[in-house]
Every structure is written in C-alpha cells, then in structure tokens.
C-alpha cells in the first residue's frame, strides 16, 4: 500500500463516525500491525487481507482467546464480506468494538457471534453447540449430553424473556442490561481487560509512522 493511499485510508477511517474511538495515530498503529499480519499470511489473498489462521493466532496470542469454535465465529463476524479474509477496514472496525466498543456495540457483536446460522435468533441447538465442551467434570450417573442440555435449559430460562424457546436480540439485550456478565454468555469472544490493556500498550506505544 502506498503511503499516500494509507494516509487517505486513515483519514477516511477516522472520519467515519463509527471509529471515533481510535485517534489517528492509533489507527495508524493498527494498520501497521495489519501490514505485518498480512505479510505473515501465506494465503494468496495477500494484499487484500489476512486469513483465518493468522487471525486466530493473533487473537490467541494477543487476548489469550483459546476456544477454536469461538475464534472461528469471531473471524466470521469480523469478516463481514464473507471472503475468508480480513481487510484492513474490517480489522480496524472489529478491534474498535473489541477494545473500545460501547455496551451496545458489544451486545450486537456478541449476538452476531453466537447466532451461528445468522437467522437472528440463538436457538437451543446453537447454544448446545457452543456449550458442549463447557463441562469439565461430567456427572458420572448421567448421559454425557444431559448435563449440557440442562445447562442450555438454565440459560434459556434465564434469558428467554418472551418464552419462545429461543433468544432474539431483544431477549439477549434485556438479559445483558440486567446482568452485564451475560454479555459473553455462550463463550469468550471479547478480550479481557488485562490483555487488552497489554495489547494497547504494545501496539500503540510504537512510534507512529
């Protein structure tokens, strides 16, 4: 990317109201990081963005997110154009939500992550998928899936306010507003505060271009 084009992009990103969370130098830092990531990416999409594997590794090392299922979902959410790679705009916009997002933005983001098939609802089956590995100790006397099913029921009971057996965004939003902890109800998809502070320090401390 030429330097001029870069500057132009930075300006356009900052201008777009959505990203006012980052200042100019921060955007530049993120873009620089994007460039190094693209360089790492071995896929033929190089130049336009980086692929799933690099994305996963990055989020893993930066935010300690380990759950592969979740990381795939996060990738899909970042990858709005669904091209299998992350563009620089998607990268900056995505991180804006992760690092500086308002509760509103984060709720939308999380809901998109959890809505596996993108039909606007989190169904019990989707929950089951997401929670199936969440029990470290299986109760001995029960069928392996029973525990998960019960857990899903507990979650539905807690969050399904209109009693239709699935979570709409409204259900999800209401639940999260009542209890912030439910934002990441079905798996970690946001960086925790410590690792995001470290990430920001690491990335933004670098002297801007």
């Amino acid at each position: 990317m030429s330097r001029k084009a870069g500057t132009f992009l930075v300006d356009s990103l900052i201008r777009s109201a959505k990203h006012c969370e980052f200042n100019k130098s921060e955007v530049e830092c993120l873009m620089k990081l994007f460039d190094t990531l693209v360089a790492k990416s071995s896929s033929h999409f190089a130049g336009a963005g980086f692929d799933r594997i690099v994305f996963r590794d990055t989020l893993h090392s930066a935010f300690g997110m380990t759950d592969d299922v979740m990381l795939d979902r996060v990738f899909s959410t970042f990858d709005k154009e669904n091209k299998g790679s992350i563009t620089v705009v998607e990268w900056v916009e995505g991180l804006a939500v992760l690092l500086r997002g308002t509760l509103e933005e984060k709720m939308k983001y999380c809901f998109r992550v959890y809505d596996l098939n993108g039909d606007g609802y989190i169904s019990k089956e989707e929950m089951f998928q997401m929670l199936k590995n969440s029990l470290l100790i299986q109760p001995a006397d029960e069928e392996p899936d029973e525990g998960i099913k019960d857990l899903v029921e507990i979650a539905v009971k807690k969050m399904d306010h209109d009693h239709d057996g699935k979570l709409s965004f409204e259900d999800f939003e209401k639940s999260v507003r009542d209890e912030n902890l439910l934002l990441e109800a079905f798996g970690p998809c946001l960086p925790d505060i410590k690792s995001s502070i470290i990430f920001e320090q690491k990335v933004f401390r670098e002297v801007p271009i």
């Binding site: 590995n133 209890e179 109800a185």
Partner: protein
C-alpha cells in the same frame, strides 16, 4: 492435733488470723473425729480428764444457759460448774455467750449437753483456739510448722522433775498426738480422693462452654469470660501470689437466669468468690468443675445443656461432667477444625439475629462493636425446593468452564439470596467454598459473578464468619488491585458486608486492605471506559471503610493511608448514596481526637451542618452523630453555630418517629449546649420546649441525650429553668430518678440539679420527693452516679425551704453522705464536700455529721493538688467549724498546714474558700500557732488587698485573730 488442724483443715482465709473453718466434707470428718475423741475422753481416761488446762479454752457459744442443768449453778445468764479447780475457780464459766472451759471432763460433758450443736461448738472452739494444745498444756507445747518438738520438750521436763502433773501432761500430750496422727491419716484419705484440677482441664472446659455460650435462647450461658487475658507460662491466669494458694484462674459467668457469677478455679475445685475485685474469699462449697458448679446454680443451664447434648451427640449430660469429658470435648474441637472448609452453621439463630446484632447504620461507640457467632452442632434441616435448584447450579459452578460457571452464577442470582433457605443451601451444597475459590482465579467474569452472590449472602452473619474463615477477605483485598473497576467495587462492597466483626476487620487491615480501600476514594481515571465510575468506586470504598472503621486500629490506618482529606473531598459532593457511607465513616471515626481535629480544621463541619438539612434521614442521622461526637470540642461547637447548624438541629427535634435520628440529634444538641452562646440560640429556636416534650415515651438512648441537653441548657441559662418548669418538665425528670441506667442517671441528676437552682422549681422537686430520690442515688454503686447525685444535692439544699428539716427527715442520710468521703473516686469526694458544705449550714445537721466523724474524714482528704477538691474541701471545712469544738478537732487532725498550702494555688476560688476556712480555724489558739509557724500571714496579706470582698474579709479576719493572740501572749508574758 495441731498439725492436722493447721495443714489439713480447710480454713477460709488462707493465712493466719481469725479464719473460719469451712463447711466442707473434709472438715466435717475432722470435726467429727475430734468430737468423738473429746466426748469419750472422760470415760476412757478419767484421770487425765480431771487435768486443769493452763488456760481455759474460750469461745463464743450458741448454747443457752437454760441447757445447763445438773452440776451447774445457773444465775441469770451466768453459768458456773460446780466442779472447781484447786484454787476454787469453776472449770466452766458461761457468761454473755462466752464460754470458758478448763478441763476435758467439762469438755465432754459440754458436748453431751450440746447434742445437736456439737459440730458448731467444736468448730467455734477450734476457730477461736487455733492451737488448743498451747492453751491446754502451755505455750512451750505449741505446734511449730515443720517440726514437732513438743514431745522432746516433755522428755526434757520429765527428766528434770518427775511429778504427777508432768506425767499427766505427758499422757495427755501423747493422747493428743495420737489423735493428730489419726486425723492426718483420715484427711489424707479424703484428700487423695479429691480430683485436683489443672490449668489445661479448666481451659478445655471453658472453651467447651464458650462454644455453647452467647446471645439467644438456646445457649447454655450468656457469656463466660476470664477476668484476665494474660496467661502465665504454667497456664494459670491467677496472679502468682494467688497461685501459691492453688488458684488457677477467675471467671465471670453470666447465666441466662441469675446474676453474673464470679468464680475461682483452683486446684482443689471450683467455687464462688467474693466478686471480681480482690475479694478472693470463698463464698460457696467446692465443686469439682465448672459444669457441676453451674448445674447447681442455673436451672436454665441444665435445661439448655441437655438440649445441646441431644442435638450433638447422644451423650448424656452426666458424661459431660465426668472427667473424660475433656477428652471428648477436645475431640469435638479437633473435628470442627477439620471441618473448617465446611462450616456448619446454626440457621435457627442467624437470620433473625444478624440484623439486630449489627447493622451498618448502627453507630458504634468508641469501643469496638462486635458480633458473636453461635456455632453449634448441625441441626436438622428441611430440604427446600431452593435447595435442589441451588444444588443443581452448584454442580455447574463446580464442574463447568468459565462460560458455564457464569451462566450458573447468573441463574443463581435469580433465587432470593436474602432468604435464609437459599443461603443455607449455598453453604450446605459446598457452593460457598467454590465461590471463594473462584475469587482466586484469573477469570474476571467468574470473580464478578461470585462476588455478586457473596455480596448478597454476606448479609448473613454466619456466612460472614464462614467467608472470613475460608480466607475470602484476603482474596478480596487482592482483588482491590484489579484493573477492572466494577470488580473492585464489588469486592469493596462485599468487604463492607463481611467486615462487621472484629476479626474480619483485622484481617482486612493486616492485608493492606485499608490503603487500597482509601485508594478507591481517589478518583484517578486510567484507561478506557472509566468515566462516571469514580462515584461508584468511592461509594463502595467508603462503604467498606465504614464497616472497617468500627475498630480503633482501623481508624488509625485510614488516617495513615491519607483517608481524611479524601473523605473531606467527597463530603462536598451532593449525592446522598455516597455521602451516607462517607459521613458514616466520619462519625464512626470521630471517636478519635485526631479525626475530630481534622473535621474541625479541614472545614468539614460546614458540610456536616449542610447535610443536616438533607432529605435522607440516614444522612441526617450520621451528620448529627458526627456533630454529637465532635462537639466535645469548644471550637467545633462554635463552628456549628457559625454555619447555622443549630436551627436544623432544633427543627429535627420535631421528627420524633425515627428514634435513631432523634438520638443523634438530641446528642448533638446536648454537646452543642455546653457553649452558652449556643444555648441562647437554642432558646431562640424554642428547642427547650421541644426537648421537654421528648421527656416521655422515648427509648433510653434518646432520653439520655434529651436530659443531657436540658441539663446543659438549664445550667447555662437561668431562663431555661423557668421554661422547663412551665412546660411541665420537672415531674418527668424527677420520675426518671428511679431509672437504673448509669448514663441516664448521671444526666438526670445534672438536669434536676440545674432546675433546683430556681427556687420555684425546687419547690416542685421537693413536693415530688425528689431530694429523697437523689439522696438514695448516693447509694448507687457507680461513682459517676454518686458524684452527680451529690452535686445535684447542693442546689437542692441551698434553695429548698426548711432544707434543714428536709435533710433531717432522710433517715440515715447524713451518715450515708459522710461515709462517701471515704470513696476512692476524686469526683465523688469533691462533690460530697460541696454537699457537706451546704448541709453544714444547718447547725443541727452539722452536729449529726460531726457525730458521724465528718471532721477526721475531711482532714484525711486535705493533702491534694486538685484545685476543685481543694476549693470544696475548704468550703466544707469552713462550714463544719461552726459546731462544738470542731475547730479544735480540725487542728488536731492536722488540717491546718495543708490548708495553708492551698493559698499558693493559682485558683482565686480556692483562695476564697481557704481563707474562709482559715478564718474559722483561727478562732482556736493552737491553730493560730500552727498558722503562724507556717508563715500564713505573708500569704494572706496580699489577699487582704483582693477585690473579692469575701476573700478580703476572711483574710483580714484571720490575720486579726492571729494578731490578737500574739498580743494576748505578750501581755501575759510581760504585762
């Protein structure tokens, strides 16, 4: 028998002197043997029985002269035996209940006569004659501790002269010696049967009983405390000089149904002593342990003990009193320590008591308020539906990854966690431990979820203790370092709930929690999305500090951590939810002088006053109680007036529904009214009328303050006395003189005394018999009450009509007050001197007081440096000189020289009183001589030039008297 008596018999007062033989089984056995010996003596050894004692055995008998019949001459109350010694003396004389016996023959006859009173008589005899052998045979046969030389002595004598008498003596001595050995043998048998206590056993038993003590219906005792916390290395708590007597420790036991019992645990057993101060005298029989002792004393103890045992193990109460109970109890103790991770909690008591026992809003006094948990064996529990629900969720909390854990924790919060059954379920399912463990993880969401639950359930006292036991506080203090501000707030709030008992506060303090909590008040915004959260952080921090500030050391720690300026800063904000904990902390800390100074100098008074007009009653209450505590200092009182705080205080008096608020407000008024300017303001706001209206139907806390305030108002401003009278305040005040609370009585005395300064009010007090009531408070055991009563009497006597007759009508009153001069409390003595000065104005009463020895008692007090005492003492002396030869008596009791020293004091009031006293004393010539010797003239001369007429007059009069005497002597010498 000397040895046996001296060693084996149990005398009450250890040491010599006129001890008493106690009624113990051992003593009884000894006495019975002695009786048998003496009774059979005349038949077995007729010759020896006729031997006349060197000196008679003499004791106070309970026998009546009427029981003596044959062989005695009875003349009125005097009985003499017909049998006489060689020199014609009767061998038995009874006169005025003193019995003298001079031979064994008479002794055996006497015992036969006494029949049922044998035991008493022998006991009395031995008590009066600690070494009877000396009396019988002569002093050379006395039992010397350690060695018995009497027989050797006799041998020497026998060698020298072999007369019939010596032979007799020899036989008697041998017989007595035999008896002695016999007694010793049998007592040894007795003693060896006795189980001797040791410190470890006592300690075990005390700890066991402590576990079952506390407030509440089901405990066996209300409390049980050692009188001393210090334990010597041998496990004893008694001072070394008492350990010598085998005493291990002293305990004060409060059973539910009797007065507190003060007991001594000694190696010989457990017994009631004479009270916790110094009186070691044994007042009861010996019991082998505390449980046995209590079984005798407290029926409720027996009853509840039985319950405890049934709920615990199927062990009968009897077992507990057996020796092996110690092993069992220590076993129980070990078991419970193993079960530390699974706290067993007594639910029956908790829910109800937790709210009443302590409350964040409840203001503590300077002393650390504390809660005492009741731990018991598990009681049977009903399994509720909540239990199953929570148990299921606990499964996920335990076995799930963070995601599942958070879902489960959030669902758990849907249960009503303030409900006992849910709290119980959380403990019983072992969820509590998991919650605490979660705090120690890195997962912020799990920590937050756990804290949210802990915050709720730690309202329960038992859970608080369990959380502290499980080490929860340490982790929470660590969380205060977290970068997540929400998490910090949750931790602080939970600490606020848990740290309501001393040990928890200590833990927080020792792990550096105070500094971190103070840090929460510093609104430093770092990182993103922090804005707007400072208030919340400060609120939670202040809440936790508030809970912690109930311990004195924590107050210091908060100050050291720089908390005061931060609290001062937040005091200026206007949000009630943060102001309440901030002011709460401040008022709690205001018990420390350093805080009071800071509150005054950092300009906090202004804001405290401002918030008195807040719409939140709780905030008003804390502000008022902060002012209450701070207004001890005069400058603060002035500041309250300057910031116009007196009006809102007066206005708040109308809110009589909220008693806690009322107590704080009246307290603030009380303390503010110590300054006269403030009283004038209160008058303006008609606070006195409002206060009088609060004299009836108020709880004790309010009454104390209301009456304190009235006392100050009337003391400082005469007009208020009339106001109180017109509003009908005198009658309720006088009625309260019959109260029992010490603090209340002190204030009532002050208030009544202040009212009595007005003659019209005094008439009402008199008609209500108030003086008698005050006078009877002189008998109150508490010195503060005594002193305040004596002070109150002064204006009463001064202003009552016919006060002389009034005082005389109180039977025994004068003796009572004169005897109070013996009190060790300086304030009591001072006040009594003042009262005596007033009473002595009536000649007849002075005469009575003189008979009760007022003169030497006053003289004894003369050596003091306390100006207040000096002044009133001198006044009392001046007035007491007016009777008989009291002036001479004062001189004889050496009061003159110390009085002269008073003239060197700097207090003009002391000068005046002293000069008056000296003037009176100088009427007696010998006093003049002493005065002259002590160079009094030099001291008095400048006082003649004083502007105070009374002082002037008295000083001049005194000098004149001295001078006249000098002239008279000169005249006698040379004229």
């Amino acid at each position: 028998m000397g040895v046996a008596l001296a060693r084996a018999a149990q005398w009450t007062a250890a040491g010599s002197g006129t001890g008493r033989l106690e009624i113990t089984p051992l003593n009884e056995a000894l006495l019975n043997q002695i009786i048998k010996f003496a009774e059979d003596f005349s038949t077995k050894h007729p010759q020896e029985a006729a031997f006349v004692f060197r000196e008679p055995l003499e004791w106070k008998t309970q026998l009546d002269s009427s029981v003596f019949k044959e062989g005695y001459e009875v003349k009125e109350a005097v009985v003499q035996s017909e049998a006489r010694s060689k020199d014609g003396q009767p061998l038995l004389i009874l006169s005025a209940s003193t019995l003298k016996v001079r031979s064994f023959d008479q002794l055996s006859r006497l015992l036969q006569i006494a029949v049922e009173k044998q035991l008493k008589e022998v006991q009395a005899c031995l008590e009066a004659n600690r070494d009877p052998i000396v009396k019988i045979l002569g002093p050379e046969y006395g039992t010397v501790e350690g060695e018995d030389t009497s027989i050797l002595h006799l041998f020497d004598k026998v060698k020298k002269d072999s007369g019939l008498e010596t032979e007799l003596k020899m036989k008697i001595l041998l017989l007595l010696h035999q008896l002695d050995l016999q007694l010793l043998n049998s007592s040894l048998k007795q003693i060896s049967q006795d189980v001797r206590l040791n410190p470890a056993a006592v300690n075990n038993e005390v700890n066991l009983l402590k576990n079952f003590s506390g407030k509440g219906e089901d405990t066996v005792l209300e409390s049980l405390e050692y009188t001393s916390d210090y334990m010597f290395s041998n496990g004893c708590r008694a001072p070394p000089w008492r350990q010598v007597h085998g005493e291990i420790c002293y305990l004060v036991i409060k059973p539910h149904d009797t007065d507190p019992l003060s007991i001594t645990c000694s190696t010989a057993g457990v017994f009631l002593n004479g009270g916790k101060d110094i009186d070691y005298e044994r007042k009861s029989e010996l019991y082998k342990d505390i449980v046995t002792f209590l079984r005798e004393r407290s029926p409720r103890f027996v009853e509840n003990m039985a319950k405890q045992v049934f709920s615990g193990q199927s062990q009968s109460l009897r077992d507990f009193t057996e020796k092996d109970a110690y092993e069992k109890s220590s076993l129980v103790g070990r078991k419970s320590s193993k079960e530390r991770l699974k706290p067993r909690i007594d639910w029956k008591n908790t829910g109800k008591t937790s709210s009443s026992l302590e409350d964040v809003g409840e203001s503590s006094s300077e002393t650390d308020e504390d809660e005492k948990p009741l731990r018991r064996q598990e009681s049977s529990t009903d399994i509720s539906p909540e239990y199953w629900g929570i148990q299921k969720l606990t499964k996920y909390v335990k076995g799930g990854d963070p995601t599942a854990t958070v879902i489960a924790l959030c669902s758990m919060r849907d249960y009503n966690l303030s409900q006992e059954t849910c709290q119980q379920a959380i403990v019983d399912t072992g969820c509590l431990e998991v919650l605490i463990n979660l705090l120690d993880t890195e997962e912020i969401k799990c920590q937050a979820g756990s804290l949210k639950i802990l915050k709720e359930i730690s309202q329960n006292m038992m859970i608080r203790h369990a959380v502290a036991d499980l080490g929860g506080l340490e982790v929470m203090v660590k969380i205060l370092d977290s970068p997540d501000i929400d998490l910090k707030c949750l931790a602080a709030e939970t600490i606020a709930n848990v740290a309501r008992f001393k040990r928890a506060r200590k833990t927080v303090r020792q792990h550096g929690g105070i500094k971190r909590l103070v840090g929460l008040l510093e609104s430093v915004s770092v990182g993103p999305s922090y804005q707007g959260k400072e208030t919340e952080a400060a609120r939670c921090g202040a809440l936790a500090l508030w809970s912690c500030s109930k311990s004195t050391k924590t107050k210091k720690a908060i100050r050291k951590a720089g908390g005061i300026p931060l609290l001062a800063r937040w005091l200026k904000c206007s949000e009630a939810n943060i102001l309440i904990p901030v002011v709460g902390t401040l008022q709690e800390c205001a018990s420390e002088p350093s805080y009071r100074l800071a509150i005054r100098t950092e300009g906090m008074v202004e804001y405290l006053v401002k918030n008195l007009s807040s719409e939140h009653e709780e905030l008003q209450r804390h502000c008022a109680s902060a002012i209450f505590k701070c207004a001890e200092d005069e400058e603060t009182r002035d500041l309250v007036r300057k910031y116009e705080g007196l009006q809102p205080l007066s206005v708040l008096l109308d809110n009589s529904e909220n008693k806690e608020l009322l107590a704080a407000v009246t307290g603030a008024i009380w303390k503010c009214a110590i300054s006269r300017e403030n009283v004038l303001k209160f008058q303006e706001y008609r606070a006195v009328e409002a206060l009088v209206a609060l004299l009836t139907d108020q709880p004790k806390e309010v009454l104390i303050n209301v009456i304190g305030a009235l006392g100050e108002c009337c003391q400082n401003e005469p007009e208020n006395r009339g106001t109180v009278r017109r509003c009908g305040g005198i009658a309720p005040l006088v009625r309260l003189l019959t109260a029992t609370d010490q603090a209340l009585l002190v204030n009532v005395n002050k208030a009544v005394g202040a009212c009595a300064m007005e003659p019209e009010s005094m008439a009402i007090i008199d008609s209500l018999d108030g003086v008698r009531l005050i006078w009877s408070l002189l008998k109150n055991p508490h010195p503060d009450v005594q002193a305040s009563a004596a002070w109150a009497l002064c204006p009463c006597i001064e202003n009552a009509k016919n006060s002389g007759d009034m005082v005389r009508s109180l039977v025994g009153g004068l003796e009572l007050i004169v005897n109070l001069l013996k009190s060790k409390d300086r304030e009591v003595v001072t006040s009594v001197c003042a009262a005596i000065a007033n009473i002595a104005k009536d000649a007849e009463n002075l005469a009575v007081m003189t008979d009760h020895g007022v003169v030497p008692l006053l003289s004894k007090l003369a050596n003091t440096n306390d100006n207040k005492l000096r002044r009133h003492l001198a006044e009392a002396v001046a007035h007491c000189c007016m009777w008989g030869n009291n002036k001479v008596a004062f001189g004889e009791t050496k009061i003159v020289a110390p009085l002269i020293r008073y003239l060197r004091s700097k207090d003009p009031l002391v000068h005046r009183a002293t000069a008056q006293a000296l003037y009176q004393l100088s009427e007696d010539a010998s006093n003049c001589v002493i005065m002259h010797e002590n160079a009094v003239v030099k001291l008095l001369l400048p006082m003649v030039g004083s502007t105070d007429d009374t002082l002037q007059e008295a000083a001049a009069g005194c000098i004149a008297n001295i001078r006249r005497l000098a002239l008279a002597t000169e005249k006698a010498k040379y004229g």
